[in-house]
Amino acid sequence: MIPPRTDPATTSAARSDPALPALRVRNLRVAFGDPDTPPAVDGVSFDVAPGECLAIVGESGSGKSVTARSLLGLTGPGARLSADDLSLAGESVLGLSEAAWRRRRGRDVGLVLQDALASLDPLRPIVREIGDSLRLHTRQSGTERTARVLEILESVGLPDAHRYAGRRSGELSGGQRQRALIAAALALDPPLLVADEPTTALDVTVQAQVLRLLEQVRDRGTAIVLISHDLAVVSRIADRIAVMHDGRIVETGPAAQVLQNPRHAETRRMLAAVPVDKPRGSRLAPADGTAPATIVLSARTPTDAHPAVPALEATGLVKTFTGPHGTRHRAVHDVSFRLEQGSTLGIVGESGSGKTTTARLVLALTAADAGEVRLLGQPWSSLAEAGRRERRPLIGAVYQDVLASFDPRLSVREILGHAITGPGTPAAPGEGRGARRARQASRTRVLLDEVGLVPGILDKRPTDLSGGQRQRVGIARALASRPRILICDEPVSALDVSVQAQVLDLLDEVQREHDLSVLFISHDLGVIQHVSDRVAVMHEGRVVETGPAEQVFAAPRNAYTQALLGAVPRLQ
């Protein structure tokens, strides 16, 4: 599928010498800011051979992206970089000038970034974006360039490349865009490719395709440095894995060894945090920061304890949006489901499958064109907003972009305080301002305790908190009105795997504690498998399969579900 390397102009002498590593890094240090702040990268060493894929994994802030950027001289003007050796194919690139780097980027080392939409110029067709590096580094004519771009586009799996070549990045789907970005990085056939979280924003099926593409690139003899926070993703293609923590490589070795016999606590912690194939109710993160033993908490007693009346019942939901040119788009088409009291229903699907619209319909933030949602056996979606308002405290919501869901002017104390004295918790008769404030303060403490936060954060604003802390505040706010039902729309998608593990554990705890019914929406099948009692799989606005989680994951009946499950990255 991918043509062999033929262009002599871009084949460096070093490539023919297999003894030389494509990349050698010895004792790399990168620091920013004041001399007394600890370096972002501290004494990192590794080699990558031609045709080998090294995965560097770690949480945000572990220094993995800074490491990747130093391989292209992209650490920025404020960085202080030093190393005993940093060489590409045997040539040292330490202390290169910006102009010298510019000559090497694209030719000797290519870069693939996470955010393809932001990385491609929205106003230029991709054929010109990809052709840029050819224009700068070769003497090819315009026709030759276009031919080469088409060839490379086909090789990254965009058949009928001429159809895509003239489009701009906004006119491509997420997967096509990521392929175009990889094509741009491969245009000059560099011996080393650095990929920084290349699949993080993508749906699982697209992710699987992109990983397969990278695999082909590697098998063709290109060395790859793959940066990711997700061990399950890299386990698919990495030959070796280096685990980074606080700027250092804490463990490195062949992929199978690192995944099966992790030696460092950080590696074990990251492995434990991967939710896929972990049974419902088992903890993903240790309470004390060490690697957890797999503790299966006492099985919950769903359904039977609660008779007939479901917490939520949706029947025949339809929602159609009208586009700018009168085009009609069916976001949700005849969706029905039941959420039994005390259980978790996982709704899973890829982007555009109608998950979020379903969540908005259930929250009654948009009116359905047809169909009804009933709450605890009572009318809900058919009520007027004024009538619904007094029942709203029964439902708590946890959002993906939790930061945007907080009023930017408010501190954590005010956010929780408003939620506590909000509707559903009416003031006791004769309660004065002081009494109300005391009630607010004591309830705030209880809520904070419940979500594992310390009172010290009360006077901070959400912008000053970490992603995990923000989501904990979000959960505390959702619990403030003592809801019966929790709607979680992609609550962990923006989080690192280890933070995701903590938040998933927390959601599980509060669900047990308060006997909540949870509607959990996610694109991540691993997460859904871990949290759900029952699963509904959505595709193009319809529920294509529904059933108990074990059944759907073990023996999917629908073809789309099967394809989706086949694409899930598993620890291999």
Binding site: F32, G33, D34, G76, P77, G78, R80, L363, L365, R389, E390, R391, R392, P393, I395, A397, Y399, D401, A404, S405, F406, D407, P408, R409, H418, A419, G422, P423, G424, R461, R477, S481
Partner: protein
């Protein structure tokens, strides 16, 4: 140069590490640039001049001394004297009160009008929004100063009408910004989150939407004061605002125009103070804006 310094500190990571921190100071826990510090000092000086002019210039701004007329800047008269021998330094300091008052009041009028129009357009439905928008577009079709001139033409010249005129002509801009901000805030995720919590429409409006819409007004207002002072001075210069011999900067500038070839100081110093005030207000506005964004 000053612009560069503000930018360097605004990007946070200035090139070249510690050596790149030229123009940054630390006072206690507050980090300020030299420009911001200078702006605060000038603002304090101007405020003192406005509130207690005698503290800085003990003389009488209207005292005539024909023998000292057209005096160049000297130790006795720092900024020189005008055609009647009045001390220009005393008059410039004395004029700070009027000029600042005009600038501030006009800005407040503009902001309040703009806020009302913008809020009405943004909250009272499509029909009102349409009407207000078309009205604003008509106002936008006139250059701001022309609008002010029209108003004065109708209501007669004087400091009072100059204030209202400048306020009126700045209102459409504010209204536009506030309406856009209101629409943005209204569809924000945190407003939706408040709906989910079960808050009523009125409480969402007063607790979340309005505060977040009006907060940027502080910055806009500070930036606007500089512009309002220049416009008010322009009106006085045209003889439509404060009238001579009142010690108002625009009027003084106008009076000095006749003698600009022989006695440059008569128009230079009032002009300098107009520029100083406008620059200082803008620098303060930018400083507040920067800090609000980080808060």
């Amino acid at each position: 140069m000053s612009e560069l310094e503000i930018q360097a500190s605004a990007t946070g990571r200035s090139p070249g590490g510690p050596s790149g921190r030229v123009g940054r100071l630390r006072i206690g826990r507050l980090r300020v640039t030299v420009v911001e510090l200078a702006a605060v000092l000038v603002a304090l000086l101007l405020l003192t001049a406005a509130v207690a002019p005698r503290l800085l210039a003990p003389g009488d701004p209207l005292a005539i001394d024909p023998l000292a007329a057209f005096g160049a800047p000297s130790w006795a008269h720092w900024f020189g004297t005008d055609e009647s021998g009045r001390d220009i330094y005393t008059r410039v300091i004395d004029g700070a009160g009027d000029s600042l008052l005009i600038g501030l009041t006009a800005t407040v009028i503009g902001l309040v009008l703009g806020a009302v129009l913008g809020t009405v357009a943004g909250t009272l439905g499509a029909a009102v929004d349409f009407t207000v928008n078309r009205f604003l577009e008509v106002l936008f079709a006139f250059p701001g100063l022309l609008l002010a001139l029209l108003f004065i033409l109708v209501f007669g010249p004087g400091p009072g009408s100059a204030i209202v005129a400048v306020g009126l002509s700045t209102a459409p801009g504010y209204a536009r910004i506030i309406r856009a901000q209101l629409l943005r805030v209204r569809s924000a995720a945190f407003v939706e989150a408040a709906t989910v919590q079960g808050l009523g429409r009125r409480r969402i409006l007063t607790r979340h939407i309005l505060p977040n819409t009006l907060a940027p007004l502080l910055v806009l207002g500070t930036l606007g004061v500089g512009q309002a002072i220049v416009w008010a001075a322009a009106l006085s210069y045209l003889g439509l605002g404060a009238q001579p011999p009142a010690a108002e900067w625009g009027a003084m500038l106008s009076a000095g125009r006749t003698y600009i070839t022989s006695s440059w100081w008569m128009s230079f110093f009032p002009g300098l103070f107009i520029v100083l005030t406008a620059v200082c207000a803008t620098a303060l506005g930018r400083a507040i804006e920067k800090r609000m964004r980080h808060a």
